[in-house]
C-alpha cells in the first residue's frame, strides 16, 4: 500500500489511477480543470451508420470508475508548483483556491499532463481566425459532441446552413520545418476520415476533399487506406494547398494538382484545419521540476530509470498517441508500479 500522486486527470492519468487504487494504493489525482477528461472533454462520437472505432466510448466507464473509486481522491482546479525529495518520500507543493498546500509522504508520482492542441498555440493568420467558414478540427469535434438526431433536424451539427462542400487540410502545425513541429501527430488522418464520414452521412450530396501528405494507420484497428476513402466517397488530394482566399461566394483553395502537374482551384463552403498533438505548455516546467529530458520536439522522457526514481510518465506527455494507446500506456505505468511494489517496498 503506497501513497501515489497522479498529476493530470486525462485518460492516461485516470487509467493509471484506477488500476493503482484497485491494487489497494491511496491515489490523489491533481487536475487543473474543474472536471476530468483533459483534451477529450469536448470530443464527439463519430458513429452514424457504423462505429468507426475511435474508442471514445471506452473512456466513459473509465471516468465513471475514477470518480466512484474509493481509493482515489481528486483535487480539481489545483496546480503543482513545487516538488521536494524528502528522505524516504516525496512532497508536492500545490496551489488550490489561491491557497498553497503540501502533499507529503508520496512514494510514487505519475505525470500524465497530456498534450496541447495546435489551435491553442497558433491561431493562424488573421483571415483564418476571423473567417467563420474556417474552423479547427477541435471546433468540429465540439459540434459533433453536441450533434442532434439527423432525422429530427435538417442541421444536426448546428452549422446554421446545409454545407454543399467541405475541405479538410491535414498536417497543420505538424510535419512542417517552419513551425518547429517536425514530426507526424499520427492521429489526424484517423479523426478527419471519421469526421468526413459523419458529414457524408448527414449530407449525402456533400462534396468532401481531404488534402493530406501521407495517410497514417489511423489507430490500432481502423487501418485507413485509400480504398476506405474511395468507398466513403471522399476525394483525396495528395498535396498541401498553397493559398486559401476568402471570397464572398466561398473559400478558394489554391493547390498544385500533382497528377496534372498544374495549379488548380477548388471552391468550398467550409474548411476544416486538422490539428496535431503538440507538447504540453508546462513540459519545460516539469522537466526542471522532476529532472526530465525534453526531446527536440518538446516532449518529455525520463533520464534515470523510472523504477528507481518512482517518477513515471504516462500518455501523450511522452509523444503523440491515440486514445487506445494512451489508455494502455496509463495502465502499463500502474502495472509497473504494482509489480515493483510486489518485489520490494518503496524505499527512497
Amino acid at each position: 500500500m503506497s501513497k501515489i500522486a497522479v498529476i493530470g486527470g486525462g485518460i492516461a492519468g485516470s487509467a493509471a489511477a484506477v488500476e493503482l487504487a484497485r491494487a489497494g494504493n491511496q491515489v490523489t489525482i491533481i487536475e487543473k480543470e474543474n472536471k476530468l477528461g483533459g483534451n477529450l472533454k469536448d470530443y464527439g462520437c463519430k458513429a452514424v451508420d457504423v462505429c468507426t472505432k475511435c474508442n471514445l466510448c471506452l473512456v466513459d466507464d473509465l471516468f465513471s470508475e475514477t470518480t466512484e473509486s474509493a481509493g482515489i481522491e481528486i483535487l480539481y482546479q489545483t496546480r503543482v508548483n513545487d516538488f521536494k525529495r524528502n528522505p524516504g518520500s516525496y512532497s508536492l507543493g500545490i496551489e488550490r483556491e489561491g491557497r498553497f498546500q503540501r502533499i507529503d509522504g508520496l512514494d510514487y508520482i505519475v505525470l500524465a499532463t497530456g498534450f496541447t492542441r495546435w489551435s491553442d498555440l497558433e491561431t493562424g493568420t488573421p483571415e483564418v481566425s476571423q473567417d467563420k467558414r474556417i474552423i479547427w478540427a477541435s471546433e468540429l469535434e465540439g459540434l459533433m459532441k453536441k450533434r442532434k438526431d439527423h432525422l429530427e433536424t435538417e442541421d444536426p451539427l448546428a452549422l446554421g446552413y446545409k454545407p454543399e462542400s467541405v475541405v479538410f487540410i491535414q498536417c497543420n502545425g505538424s510535419r512542417s520545418i517552419q513551425e518547429k513541429a517536425r514530426y507526424c501527430s499520427r492521429v489526424c488522418c484517423g479523426y478527419s476520415y471519421r469526421m468526413a464520414r459523419v458529414l457524408k452521412y448527414f449530407f449525402p450530396e456533400i462534396k468532401i476533399t481531404i488534402f493530406f501528405m501521407d495517410l497514417q494507420e489511423g489507430g490500432y484497428l481502423q487501418d485507413i487506406s485509400f480504398t476506405n476513402l474511395e468507398e466513403a466517397g471522399i476525394n483525396y488530394l495528395n498535396c498541401k494547398p498553397v493559398r486559401v482566399e476568402g471570397k464572398d461566394d466561398g473559400l478558394r483553395i489554391i493547390y498544385e494538382d500533382q497528377r496534372k502537374g498544374a495549379v488548380e482551384e477548388l471552391l468550398t463552403q467550409l474548411l476544416v484545419l486538422s490539428e496535431g498533438i503538440h507538447p504540453n505548455q508546462d513540459n519545460e516546467h516539469w522537466s526542471m521540476l522532476f529532472n526530465l529530458q525534453l526531446d527536440d520536439h518538446g516532449f518529455l522522457s525520463s533520464i534515470e530509470d523510472e523504477l528507481k526514481t518512482g517518477i513515471f510518465l504516462a500518455g501523450t506527455i511522452k509523444g503523440p498517441k491515440d486514445i487506445a494507446a494512451t489508455i494502455s500506456d496509463g495502465r502499463n505505468v500502474a502495472y509497473k508500479i504494482i509489480n515493483q511494489q510486489k518485489l520490494q517496498p518503496a524505499v527512497r
Binding site: 458513429a47 462505429c51 474508442n55 466510448c57 497528377r259 489508455i327 502495472y335
Partner: protein
C-alpha cells in the same frame, strides 16, 4: 503451474514464470484464465500436459515478396558495388505498415552512407510514421535519397527488374537492385491454433477479430492474449510497448482473478446432448465439455455473461442459476443492451416522455430468445424494439449479428402469417448517441419504423 505459456516466440519477463510451446506441437487446450490445461508434444515427441494462468499467442507472420527475384527490406544490403543504383519500393500491393517504412528508411540511409557514389531511389504511396520515422525520413532526404510518390498504375516493374515510372511531369526508366517492402501474411499454423484455442479468426486470416473491446492485445477469450504477427501488419508498429503492457497486465491480473459477472450460468446435464453449438458460438471460449458428466459446462471465470449460449442452445439446457424472468407483461417493450443503448439512455435527458415504454436491460442483444419474442407479442398492439451495438464494437464480438439474424427470422415468420410487419425492430446504437436514441424512441412510439 506457469504464469504464461507462449505459443510461438517467447518474450523474456523477470517476474513471470513462462514456457514456450511450438504452435505445430500444440494439441489441446482446456480450462480458463488462472487454470488453463495445455496438452502438447515436447522436443522429442512425448505428449505432455502443463497448467498455466494465461496464454500468449505470438507467432511471427509470414513475409511474402510482392514480386519474385527482388530483395526485401528485411534482407541484408547487397555487398559490393555491382549496381549503379538502388531502388527501394514500398506500398506495392497494400500500403505497408509503419514498421516496414521504418525498416525501409533505415536500410536506405545505411545504403546511401555505404555507397555514397550511387543514386538511391525510394518509391512510396504513403509514408507511415511510428517511433523515429519522422527523423529518419528527414535524414534520408538530407543524404540525397530521391523520394518519389507513386500511385497504382504509374509505376511498372518488369520481370527483368526494370522500373518505369511516369507522371505528367516526370518519366523515369531505372535499372538496378530492387528492394521491396514484403507483404505481411498470416502464418501457416495460425488457423489450427485458433481452432485449438476456440478463438474466432479475424479478417485476412489473422487471429484477432477487429473489435473496439479487444484493445490492443486481448482476444475474445479472457486470459488469452494475441501479440505481434498473430494480430496483423499494423500490430507490428508498437510491438514492444504492447508486449511490455501485456506482460505487466498478466502479472497484475494473476494476483487475484474474480468472475466478471456475478450471476452464473449452468448446463442441465440431463438435457444437454453435447451438440457443441454453445461451444462454437460462445464469443469468449467459456464453455467446454465436462470430463466426468456427459454434458458441457460453463467456465465461470471466462464467462462474460452475454447469454448467447442460453438463447442458442437447441435443447434449452442452459440457464442462469437464479433466473426468474417471468414473461407476463406486454405492450411497447424496449430491450437495451447494457453496453450501448443503456449508457445512451442514462445520458439522455427527458426520460419521462417515455414512461409508458417497458425498458429492460439485457447483457447483450445476442441473448434474445425467439420464443420470448413471440410471447411478448401476445396482443396485437404489442411491439418490441431491441437496441444493440454497432458491428465490431459489440463487447461479445458477434452479439449484434446474432440479434440481427434472430429478428430477421422472426419478422419473416410474422409477415408470412400476416401477423404484422416490423413488430420487432433491431437497431444499432453507440453509447454516446443519446440524441439519436431520444429521436428513435419517439418515432418508434408513434409506429414509424424507419428509425
Amino acid at each position: 503451474m506457469y504464469d504464461v505459456v507462449f505459443i510461438g516466440d517467447l518474450i523474456e519477463s523477470p517476474t513471470l514464470k513462462s514456457l514456450k510451446v511450438d504452435p505445430e506441437l500444440l494439441l489441446r487446450c482446456r480450462g480458463e484464465i488462472g487454470d488453463f490445461h495445455l496438452t502438447y508434444k515436447d522436443g522429442d515427441g512425448k505428449v505432455r500436459e502443463v497448467k498455466t494462468g494465461t496464454i500468449v499467442v505470438n507467432i511471427t507472420a509470414e513475409r511474402e515478396k510482392p514480386l519474385p527475384g527482388v530483395l526485401s527490406f528485411e534482407d541484408d544490403l547487397p555487398e559490393g558495388k555491382e549496381v549503379d543504383c538502388l531502388i527501394f519500393i514500398q506500398d506495392y500491393q497494400t500500403i505497408s505498415p509503419a514498421i516496414m517504412s521504418n525498416r525501409g528508411l533505415k536500410m536506405a540511409i545505411s545504403a546511401a552512407k555505404k555507397f555514397p557514389e550511387i543514386q538511391v531511389y525510394y518509391f512510396y504511396r504513403s509514408m507511415r510514421f511510428i517511433k523515429d520515422n519522422d527523423r529518419l525520413f528527414e535524414e534520408a532526404r538530407r543524404l540525397g535519397i530521391l523520394f518519389l510518390k507513386y500511385e497504382k498504375g504509374n509505376l511498372v516493374i518488369s520481370a527483368a527488374g526494370e522500373v518505369s515510372y511516369n507522371r505528367e511531369d516526370i518519366s523515369l526508366r531505372l535499372e538496378g537492385k530492387i528492394l521491396m517492402a514484403p507483404e505481411i501474411k498470416p502464418a501457416e499454423g495460425l488457423e489450427r491454433v485458433a481452432r485449438i484455442l476456440n478463438l474466432e479468426m479475424g479478417p485476412a486470416g489473422f487471429l484477432q477479430v477487429e473489435n473496439v473491446y479487444l484493445q490492443s492485445t486481448l482476444s475474445g477469450r479472457r486470459g488469452v492474449y494475441i501479440l505481434g504477427g498473430s494480430r496483423g501488419p499494423t500490430a507490428y508498429s508498437n510491438l514492444v510497448e504492447e508486449a511490455e503492457y501485456t506482460l505487466n497486465e498478466i502479472g497484475f491480473l494473476l494476483q487475484d482473478i474474480k468472475p466478471l459477472v456475478n450471476d452464473r450460468r449452468e448446463v442441465d446435464d440431463q438435457k444437454c446432448i453435447l451438440c457443441y453449438t454453445c461451444y462454437r458460438i460462445c464469443p469468449h471460449g467459456a464453455i467446454e465439455r465436462d470430463e466426468e458428466l456427459d454434458a458441457m459446462k460453463v467456465l465461470n471465470l471466462a464467462c462474460q455473461g452475454c447469454n448467447a449460449c442460453i438463447s442458442h442452445c437447441p435443447a434449452s439446457a442452459i440457464s442462469i442459476v437464479e433466473d426468474n424472468n417471468e414473461l407476463i407483461e406486454t405492450g411497447l417493450r424496449v430491450l437495451m443492451c447494457e453496453n450501448s443503448a443503456r449508457t445512451a439512455w442514462e445520458r439522455m435527458a427527458g426520460k419521462d416522455r417515455f414512461s409508458d415504454l417497458k425498458i429492460e436491460t439485457i447483457p447483450c442483444a445476442g441473448s434474445i430468445k425467439k420464443e420470448d419474442i413471440y410471447h411478448y407479442l401476445r396482443n396485437s398492439a404489442d411491439r418490441l424494439l431491441i437496441l444493440g451495438c454497432f458491428e465490431e464494437s459489440c463487447k461479445h464480438l458477434s452479439g449484434d449479428r446474432k440479434a440481427y439474424r434472430i429478428v430477421n427470422e422472426v419478422n419473416e415468420r410474422l409477415k408470412v402469417l400476416n401477423l404484422g410487419e416490423n413488430r420487432v425492430i433491431f437497431k444499432r446504437l453507440a453509447p454516446r448517441m443519446e440524441e439519436d436514441l431520444a429521436g428513435l424512441l419517439s418515432r418508434w412510439k408513434e409506429g414509424n419504423c424507419n428509425l
